[in-house]
């Protein structure tokens, strides 16, 4: 077996194990760490899917941004004496029932599906032969997806403003 393929399955396994750990761990910080592991593993998986750009973004935004945000959140919301990073569970029966059944159904349907269309490697159009996928994506972002990109910019701006307004301290000494 090809070493690359083994690596792929390893990382897949790692991610699944880490995610399963997230399900069971009591400690929030552990969970955050496990999530980081999942995301990093995913970055590897993305590479196997031929999505280099995405892999990089994954590490940058997810691990560097979102996860940090979450850890911030964990810290900020545990400013209580005697607080451990414990987080309990509930809805054991129905939660697991719903989640597991959906998972099983998804797995079953995927196994059921005939993927012959995706057996052959993708064809690269002639006019793109000179570009790497990252370059191509860059160009696309600035041309075809320009609108979305701009939208995303506005999106982030507004969300930031809103989030700031919400998260900001109350003025006039009413801050708690």
């Amino acid at each position: 077996m090809d070493a690359a393929i083994v690596t792929f399955y390893m990382f897949c396994g790692l991610a699944v194990v880490a995610a399963t750990g997230m399900v069971f761990t009591k400690n929030l910080l552990y969970a955050a760490g496990l999530l980081a592991i999942v995301m990093l593993s995913l970055a590897v998986v993305f590479i196997y899917a031929g999505a280099m750009f995405l892999a990089v973004s994954q590490i940058l935004i997810y691990v560097g941004g979102i996860l940090v945000l979450i850890i911030f959140g964990v810290m900020l919301t545990s400013r209580k004496p005697g607080f451990s990073f414990e987080a309990g569970t509930h809805y054991h029966f129905f939660g697991w029932l719903a989640g597991l059944s959906i998972m099983v159904i998804l797995i079953m349907t995927i196994l059921d599906f005939d993927f012959t269309r995706w057996m052959h490697p993708p064809e690269v159009p002639d006019n793109l032969s000179g570009y790497t996928s990252i370059q191509h994506i860059g160009v696309l972002l600035m041309s075809k997806y320009l609108l979305i990109l701009e939208l995303a910019a506005i999106f982030l701006l507004v969300v930031m403003a809103g989030a700031l307004q919400i998260g900001a301290k109350e003025e006039g000494g009413k801050a708690s």
């Binding site: 570009y131 997806y145 320009l146 939208l151 999106f155 307004q165």
Partner: protein, 504 residues
């Protein structure tokens, strides 16, 4: 490659001319931000003026787009990202009007005055932003675009929900957010399969559905069902409605009026655009689109009504009312005939109008009764008759009784169901019809509850004084008048709708 980039950019530039309303929205957002940042902060009045001005401009520009498009025409923009047709323009106009009204609502933000001004500026921006999301979703012809637009609507919704800055704001907001997050994740999962099986994200592309229908298997059904989850979430249809009561309970009334109208109608339009394709590809599977949507519609309207019956809070009641109305709106996409298309568009307009008017009036009552608990409506009808009577009209319109346009809407909707039953003969349509009509009766039970309390219960001794901001009364009166007028002259509205091209 360069050439392609060049042509794409040229096309994008050319397209900007038909993108003016959205540009105006963005411009107003930026303008408010700029003024907020570079001056000492906008006063409430100024934010209001800016926001309303923005919406006015958008309204004007949208109106200009109307004659631009002949009834048959549609323009695709930005490399098949967007599609501009009369349907979207029609609702853009509606959204702008709604936006203007929403910014007129009394300010319900808690806090110290200067902060309130800041917050209101952001609030105005969020409303504008939500309108932008609405516009984009109306025009979306691409799953990516649709996703982005839905997220714009969602996130601005979460934020707006918080914008009373009271104790429970956080709870309502976070519930909304978690529910929205999960449902958009589910939807995305569905989208990912649609994308994978269809080969493209552009659902106006004939290839998309052609490819999809090749693979008519359980996976496809699941993908469609999961994609629907997000759309149903925006529509607040069952089972994706659970966020509504809590979010409605805390959101500022104005924002609420917008949340209850814009995402719903925009998502409906998306659904209308998807319906022909979906029902075609599902035709090969045992699950028929008609049965699926009819079931969801029936459950939605029934459960919404049933749940609304027990509510003790006007806002939660309105939330469930919205759910029930979603059920009725979904009737339109059960069978997308030309008639039902007209009917559902008509109904959507009436619903928006009635909802806006009702929320306007509720905002009046909310000044003294921040939670809008029904127990504090007792006897208010005699204290201030005019808003009470207007509210009564609004509620009648929401119920769907004459002499309000709510009745005309329901009449057309039911007629369309009957008409398609006549031509198709599927019994689920009769079930839908009967259930829908019975639900109208049930709906009366809760819609009349507030007027009932206002007129039939004695005024408590320590009743609060009712402030009646004249502007709001005037606008709500106009809304109610319109509802009455459209009942008597439905063709005045229908003429517009008729000129929307059904072929999409």
């Amino acid at each position: 490659m360069e050439q392609e980039v060049y042509s794409t950019l040229t096309e994008t530039l050319d397209g900007l001319g038909t993108f003016l309303p959205e540009i105006a929205l963005v411009a107003s957002i930026l303008l408010i931000f700029a003024l907020e940042t570079f001056t000492r902060g906008l006063s409430i009045q100024w934010s209001r003026v800016m926001g309303i001005g923005g919406f006015m401009v958008v309204l004007g520009l949208s109106l200009l787009q109307w004659p631009l498009l002949d009834s048959g025409n549609s323009i695709t923009l930005f490399e098949e990202m967007l599609i501009l047709d009369r349907l979207s323009v029609f609702f853009k106009i509606l959204f702008s009007i709604a936006g203007i009204l929403v910014l007129l609502f009394p300010v319900e933000i808690n806090g110290e005055p200067r902060q309130v001004a800041h917050r209101f500026a952001v609030f105005a921006v969020l409303i504008l932003f939500m309108a932008l999301g609405g516009h984009l979703l109306l025009m979306a012809s691409n799953l990516l675009m649709a996703y982005m637009a839905i997220e714009v609507l969602s996130i601005s919704g979460y934020l707006i929900t918080f914008f009373r800055f009271e104790k429970y704001s956080g709870e309502g907001g976070i519930k909304y957010l978690i529910f929205g997050g999960v449902s958009s994740a589910v939807m995305l999962y569905g989208f990912s399969f649609l994308y994978g099986l269809g080969g493209t994200l552009d659902f106006t592309n004939p290839d998309f559905f052609a490819q999809l229908s090749v693979s008519s298997v359980p996976l496809l059904v699941i993908a469609i069902l999961m994609s629907l989850a997000g759309i149903l979430f925006k529509l607040s249809a069952i089972p994706m409605h659970f966020w509504a009561p809590d979010a409605y309970r805390v959101a500022p009334t104005g924002g609420l009026a917008f949340i209850s109208v814009v995402p719903k109608i925009a998502a409906l339009v998306l659904l209308i655009r998807l319906t022909p394709g979906f029902s075609d590809i599902l035709a090969a599977t045992p699950l028929s689109w008609m049965v699926l949507m009819a079931t969801i519609a029936m459950i939605t309207m029934t459960a919404g009504n049933a749940a609304a019956l027990s509510q003790k809070n006007a806002l939660r009641l309105m939330a469930y009312s919205g759910v029930a109305h979603t059920g009725f709106l979904l009737i339109g996409v059960v069978v997308l005939t030309e008639y039902s298309f007209y009917a559902v568009v008509f109904y959507a307009v009436i619903f928006a109008l009635a909802n806006l008017g009702t929320f306007l009036l509720l905002s009046v009552y909310r000044l003294n009764n921040p939670g809008l608990e029904m127990s504090r409506f007792h006897g208010l009808g005699f204290k201030a008759a005019l808003p009470a009577v207007l509210l009564l009209i609004g509620m009648i319109a929401l119920t769907g009784l004459p002499p309000t346009a709510g009745f005309s809407g329901k009449l057309l909707l039911f007629s369309s169901v009957w008409e398609s039953y006549q031509s198709i003969g599927n019994t689920i349509l009769t079930a839908l019809l009967i259930l829908g009509i019975l639900n109208t009766v049930v709906a009366l039970g809760f819609y009349l509850k507030i007027p009932y309390l206002m007129f039939f219960r004695p005024l408590p001794a320590e009743a609060p004084r009712i402030q009646t901001p004249s502007l709001i009364i005037v606008f709500s009166a106009m809304a109610m008048f319109l509802l009455l007028y459209i009942f008597f002259q439905p063709d005045s509205l229908m003429r517009w709708i008729n000129s929307i091209n059904f072929a999409l």
